[in-house]
């Protein structure tokens, strides 16, 4: 379980807030999507959960314990993180990249090797073809699969994903989204997923947190949000793609 209570973050001493008075809770095994346009505070929120950024006010609990009372390095090893820019280490092979967190946790080489092969197969990369390669030899989609495998390596209970599929083409993105849905059922992780893509949010989220300029607009299931948008911003946000879809159908006629 991940819980945020009254969390605020300012980078300029209080003149403006990247995140303001944010509270929500993610139950074990649940996937919550943080949805909003760029600059709305969703990435900052994600980074506060594993202490890459520290909150100015409020409390964040992971597994029932305040993150500020935990050693940051140990905390981060318990939370899988998929980075927006992927961030694979260019001087390490795919095997070394995926096996890194287990290595930091002191797993034996043999156990690491088995785990890496298992995970590469899980994300659809044949270990015998990819394990010894370097990330530069992989396509963007393949790199992101490795990024997901790396986040899952030490079998963390929590997974934070920061626009993992944002930079991919539409076809690859859709394939990876479908695979993530499959993984979600199989792995039973507690996931927080950040995106600006409404369809992605509707597809993946058990619940959706809509953020705008650091403030929460609405928290709820897709049904709740679509049937009863809480603010004009939410209504516009979901109205726009529907209108675009209608326009698109017009063109096809």
């Amino acid at each position: 379980m991940i819980q945020l209570r009254g969390v605020s973050k300012t980078f300029d001493g209080g003149t403006s807030y990247a995140v303001k008075d944010l509270s929500f809770q993610v139950e074990a095994g649940e996937t919550v999507v943080l949805l909003g346009s760029s600059g709305c505070g969703k990435t900052t929120t994600l980074k506060m959960i594993n202490r890459l950024v520290e909150p100015t006010h409020g409390h964040i609990e992971v597994g029932g314990e305040d993150v500020m009372n935990q050693d940051p390095a140990l905390l981060r090893r318990r939370i899988g993180y998929v980075f927006q820019g992927i961030g694979l280490f260019p001087h390490m092979t795919i095997e070394q990249n995926v096996g890194l967190v287990p290595r930091l946790l002191g797993w034996s080489a043999r156990k690491r090797g088995e785990r890496v092969r298992e995970l590469l197969r899980l994300v659809g990369l044949a270990p015998e073809d990819y394990a010894d390669r370097f990330s530069e030899a992989l396509s963007g989609g393949q790199q992101q699969r490795v990024g997901v495998a790396r986040a899952l390596a030490a079998d963390p209970a929590y997974l934070l994903m920061d626009e993992p599929f944002g930079a991919l083409d539409a076809l690859t993105r859709e394939a990876l989204q479908q695979e993530l849905l499959g993984l979600k059922k199989k792995l039973e992780k507690t996931i927080i997923f950040v995106t600006h893509d409404i369809f992605e949010a509707l597809l993946l989220g058990d619940r959706i947190v809509i953020l705008h300029q650091g403030n929460v607009q609405q928290i709820g299931t897709k049904k709740e949000i679509l049937s009863a948008p809480a603010t004009p911003f939410v209504r516009d946000l979901f109205g726009k793609p529907a209108k675009q879809l209608a326009d698109f159908k017009d063109i096809l006629k």
Partner: protein, 528 residues
């Protein structure tokens, strides 16, 4: 210019070339390694502590701007030692800037996305540095080491100036003897060595790169990789091997005067080399002592300093130099009085003994082209008075500064020359003969006075102190080996001005070997 063909010249010097190359590699190798051991941690330190950046980068930058010779002489004074140690320290200080700067730049240049990932997956600060930052910065750091090593090869040629050996020894000797071949014998291998060092570190960097999938065990790359990694080490091993295979030629700090060795030194010009050979050969012929030659040290102060530290046992000094430059005493015009003054003062202050002089007086001689002397009727220095403002003078830097040099001369004679150019002693004679300057401060016994058709003018006011050369020996050596004094006494009064000029001429103009010229002379005189 010389009778000897190139091939014979090089093959004659082959064994020495081998050992000098070895010394050069050792100077470069050890200084680069110590710069690496200091520079990389310093680079990491300033990366982590931003307040240190300005001072540290500024500091190593300033080191870089100190002229190499000034740095060597400064370290010499500080360490009270000649030889390899001050040279390696100087080279290390020069090598710091590229290594520190590249380490810092390399660490800073790692992509922030990669570093955020390193932090985000749970690496500690130390792990981020060790597992991610340093490996990714390595190519840039190695590039800095490469620059440092190549620059070191160049600067190491100057180390010969303070007796550290290396290929600079040939260059120094070539400059002293005005022998282009000797200069090239040092300069060309030094340039090739620079390319070799560059290549070796380049291969090392290639060998460090991550193993690619195509580098399967057994492939050509997999075999070359360890070889490439070993290249710099190989060069150092070759250097050490060369250094220790021919110890008789080496310039290691000798364990002085115990176990029956005596170390003879010289300054870096022709006459000194001949005198050094004369003394060394007499000692070899008449005593059982093992003679070590540490020739071509870069000047009076370096020789004197080395004598005081016991790193050398004897060298030939000139009374005038001892009097004014070393003892800082006023000029004494009378040769006998001057000699006894320095003898007494050295005994009292330096525990060193002046033996009887060789005979000739190598004083400064204000010298002009013979053609000009005839045309204008110049015989004495006073004759120049009227023409002086229109004359260009070429002086050695030492002469231009010393109280018994130009400053005193112009005061005593009451005139100044129109312009002064600082010239190297080895270039002075040619410069005046070609008309680039009109007057030089020649040495009275220099063979090139005759060779370049020059005329020394008479010092009619007896301004210049006498410069009679004599062996100066540490008292401890004389006490332990009285035979040294006996042997050297055979050289007393053996050379007059003309004879010295003739010997200098043989070496300077005819490009003959100083050792051979000295042994011929000693045999002719029946000394050995």
């Amino acid at each position: 210019m010389s009778a000897e063909p190139w091939i014979t010249f090089v093959s004659d010097h082959l064994s020495e070339l081998w050992i000098r190359t070895g010394e050069h590699l050792i100077l470069t190798g050890f200084s680069t390694i110590s710069a690496l051991l200091i520079g990389v941690p310093l680079g990491i330190l300033i990366f982590r502590n931003s307040w240190l950046r300005g001072p540290a980068l500024g500091g190593v930058g300033i080191l870089q701007t100190i002229p190499s010779l000034a740095m060597l002489v400064f370290l010499l004074a500080l360490l009270q030692k000649i030889g390899v140690l001050p040279a390696v320290i100087a080279l290390t200080l020069y090598a710091l800037l590229p290594i520190v700067r590249n380490t810092f730049t390399g660490l800073t240049g790692v992509s922030p996305q990669v570093m955020e990932a390193a932090k985000g997956i749970g690496m500690t600060e130390g792990q981020q540095l060790r597992m991610v930052r340093l490996p990714l910065a390595t190519p840039v750091i190695v590039a800095g080491i490469r620059t440092a090593a190549v620059v070191s090869v160049g600067i190491a040629t100057l180390s010969a100036f303070i007796g550290a050996g290396g290929l600079g020894q040939f260059i120094n000797r070539g400059l002293a003897l005005y022998n282009t071949r000797l200069i090239l014998l040092g300069a060309v291998p030094a340039a090739m060595l620079a390319l070799l060092v560059d290549f070796a570190i380049g291969s090392f960097e290639w060998g460090l790169r991550p193993v690619r999938k195509q580098d399967k065990p057994g492939s050509a790359r997999a075999i070359i990789r360890p070889v490439a990694l070993m290249m710099p080490l190989l060069l150092i091993v070759i250097g050490l091997f060369a250094y220790f295979t021919q110890p008789s030629l080496g310039t290691r700090p000798a364990s002085v005067s115990n176990g029956g060795t005596v170390t003879v030194a010289t300054k870096n010009f022709t006459e000194q080399l001949i005198l050094g050979e004369l003394m060394a050969q007499v000692l070899e012929a008449k005593t059982d002592l093992n003679v070590i030659r540490r020739f071509n040290l870069g000047g009076s102060m370096i020789c004197h300093g080395a004598l005081m530290n016991g790193e050398i046992d004897l060298y030939a000094e000139y009374t005038g130099t001892g009097l004014t430059a070393i003892l800082k005493a006023p000029v004494i015009a009378d040769p006998e009085k001057a000699f006894y003054y320095v003898k007494a003062a050295y005994r009292k202050q330096y525990d060193a003994e002046w033996l009887r002089p060789f005979g000739f007086n190598n004083t400064y001689a204000i010298t002009v082209r013979t053609q000009d002397a005839k045309q204008y009727g110049w015989h004495t220095i006073s004759d120049l008075k009227e023409a002086a403002p229109g004359l260009k003078a070429g002086f050695t830097a030492e002469f231009a500064e010393r109280p018994d040099g130009y400053p005193g001369l112009s005061k005593a004679y009451g005139f100044e020359f129109g312009g002064i150019r600082d010239l190297d002693p080895s270039l002075m004679y040619e410069a005046v003969s070609k008309g680039e300057v009109d007057v030089i401060c020649a040495f009275a016994t220099d063979g090139r006075i005759a060779a370049y058709r020059l005329t020394p003018l008479k010092d009619d006011l007896q301004f210049f102190p006498p410069y009679h050369a004599a062996p100066v020996v540490r008292e401890a050596v004389l006490a332990e080996h009285p035979e040294v004094e006996q042997a050297l006494s055979l050289l007393e009064g053996i050379l007059d001005d003309q004879t010295m000029q003739q010997l200098n001429f043989e070496v300077d103009a005819k490009k003959r070997d100083a050792g051979r010229v000295a042994s011929e002379f000693l045999k002719k005189k029946g000394v050995i």
